[in-house]
Symmetry: C3
Subunit: 318 residues, 3 copies
């Protein structure tokens, strides 16, 4: 058993935390750019500050803060919902993350159970990002824990309401990055293919403070298993080509890492437009997207190639 909580350690309503705050630095920003090449963050700073931190960089570093109190003994990361970036975070701000237990369900095997948590990332007293995730966590023992006979599953929204989206960062002024139009049903294939190298995915994963040994172990016959967050970030960076006016992911309605990715694999990304939310004057406020990532081939939702299936709201500058 790794240091950290087992299934028996979680109680409904419990607030778990304790990771020291982490200051977001210009070193983190430079590394994220080197890892992903994602140009979304290049929003024009008015001052000599490096400006807002990429929403996914914020997510990864906050996620790392929850591993010791949520998922150190996880068997699988099952899903995400109700993830909202409430306001942009700037270089120099320090984040702290805690997690409230909102659901528990013991598995029939008696060896593990599912834990639902709502994690909140704060800068001072401001909640800047929050999400629900559920993970399968192993038990310390195998005797049934009687008080789990009535499992508690939280009510989760099928999608975040576009009116609940947070403050967008300042709009980019990049020439040529004008808003295009989007319509439900559109499919955008992103030309960037990402070949995963061992060195890059490991550095990305360590930087996010994710130290699960499975991402580092390898043998001549079995390459290392890639952290799902790396796949997420690389696919999102590839999707820039379809959204040159985007200001950054604003909310995740649901997300699943459907299949594993290994060092040496090539990632293919495709976006499907699910909905377009417009202001009264017809201008686009947000676009609901489904980002599909295929392993070693284009993603086919009916086939076996999909490794990531992400339903999210994208903000685009008007």
């Amino acid at each position: 058993v790794t240091p950290g909580p087992c299934f028996e350690d979680f109680d409904l309503g419990q607030v778990r935390g304790g990771h020291p705050p982490r200051v977001l630095t210009s070193g983190d920003v430079a590394l994220y750019l080197a890892f992903t090449g994602d140009r979304t963050w290049m929003v024009g700073p008015d001052t000599h500050q490096p400006g807002p931190v990429h929403p996914l960089l914020l997510f990864h570093l906050a996620f790392g803060q929850t591993v010791p109190h949520v998922s150190a003994n996880a068997r699988a990361n099952l899903g995400y919902a109700e993830m909202i970036w409430h306001r942009p975070v700037e270089v120099g701000e320090a984040i702290s993350t805690d997690s409230t237990v909102i659901g528990l369900k013991e598995n029939r095997s008696g060896k593990d159970g599912i834990v639902w948590v709502r994690s909140r990332v704060r800068v001072g007293d401001d909640v800047v990002l929050s999400w629900v995730r559920w993970v399968m966590v192993r038990k310390q023992g195998t005797a049934r824990t009687p008080w789990f006979k009535d499992p508690v599953r939280p009510d989760l929204a099928a999608a975040v309401s576009p009116t609940a989206l947070g403050t967008p960062p300042r709009a980019p002024s990049l020439e040529g990055a004008r808003q295009r139009d989007y319509a439900p049903g559109d499919t955008i294939d992103h030309p960037a293919r990402t070949v995963v190298t061992t060195a890059e995915h490991r550095m990305f994963t360590r930087h996010a403070l994710n130290n699960a040994q499975v991402h580092f172990d390898e043998t001549p016959d079995r390459p290392s298993l890639v952290y799902g967050g790396y796949v997420w970030s690389m696919a999102y960076a590839a999707a820039y080509s379809g959204f040159p006016a985007r200001t950054g992911i604003a909310a995740v309605n649901s997300g699943q890492h459907a299949r594993p990715v290994f060092a040496g694999d090539t990632l293919y990304a495709q976006t499907r437009i699910l909905a377009v939310d417009r202001l009264d004057d017809g201008a686009i406020r947000a676009v609901r997207c489904r980002l599909l990532v295929g392993r070693n081939q284009a993603p086919d939702p009916q086939g076996e190639s999909v490794v990531l299936d992400l339903d999210f709201w994208e903000r685009v500058a008007t």
Copy 2:
């Protein structure tokens, strides 16, 4: 067609820009050091600031700002001239880059043309770096554009005058890094050999915001094509061994990426001294160098191995 200008979009005298400013950070400096190991920037700071940014790091990050308004649809990067670093730039300063169209020539094929631009990098109102480059840009259509019947080629200096060189950074005080003497005709072989790994050249290229897909695509049979700027920086770092007292490249008289480099190649660097510019008291002000880089063998200007041929002024501390 990639978002960005085609040949028809360029007009003589036009000023193109629009990329948001980019603040140079200590994260950028640390990454450049990890990528290249170039110790030139280690000039002694008087204060607790990280000090001046390496001139080539400044160049790469500024070059990335010109891609959307100059070369997003380029077929080839043909050459450089009149590149001058006017003054050192410090960590924390924000750069903005625009480009003035100074030459246009449609190609006979009707499919593309050559565009000459003078790009200027500014910190506030100061021009801190400027250069001329010419690129072959594809056309949107193939019908001849009549007003290009008289091509305009700019007059370019064969070399930057040493009296036009900018302010050098503070001199290094590294023990043992004393000035040696240089004489025209001297040849210096640099012992450092650089094997290009996929992970390193891709991270370097992404960090510079160069997202040309050709640098990332690879198949088992065809490794990825390396960004010319990576070759430039790695060869310049290797050349440190011949110029331990250098304060950094001051001007580029001409530069060509003569042949492609691929991941897995080994780079060999050699410097030839072209001229030595002296002050009235005989002290060296600047050394004019020709940096030749060979692919998988020592560079031979008469042979097929040269991948980079760079004619530049180097400042050395006295």
Copy 3:
């Protein structure tokens, strides 16, 4: 001969230095985290500053400052002793390093000799880190230097006294990172295995300003030789699993890189508890550890697999 001192250039009592100060930045911290994943430094900052720099990052960057004045012409790095981190160093502080010659012994071959130096790392007037190391340095000529007939070997402590340890950084508050108990004779096998990739060890080494060509040269038959400091840092990061409450290495009693490591090797780490130093109330002040690293197998002190053997004091939060 590389620029830098040969054996004849060292005199007893001489103070050598001259490297420009290096400011420790948040870029350095982010890179060290990406390279090693070492979470020791995540001590809770009270303010919005990134906080103390990892003691081994401080060591590597300071060590790099001594290469030009100590070991540019070294044949081998023979050992360390009396290494003490006197106080934590924060991001934004600038370090300068000099070295006093405290021992000299010419080798019988007449081709080289052993130099003992005590290096001191300063922030302003504060000595923040110091160590003794001895290296074999080649001679410029082969004629015996008569005044070396009486070799001078410094008296070195077998171990640093626990009462001489410096100020620890603020204690981590990571949940679950409570102090366990340690007893002399305990052996802790660390589950993390580190496969060394070319890209990662080279970037680490360049970032530390170690430009010894042997770490970069490779052929299809012979992978590059890994900088000993990389092995040290990766093994120390792996050892975190046994010391979740550690506040960072406090002193090195002795250290040897017993055998070479090459790109592609896998590192195995094990800690043996040598002694436990307690305060009057029985609380642990420091734990004396022996960190053994094996190449491609678990380390066996009687066998041929040990590549690093490090005897040091570890501070753990109470």
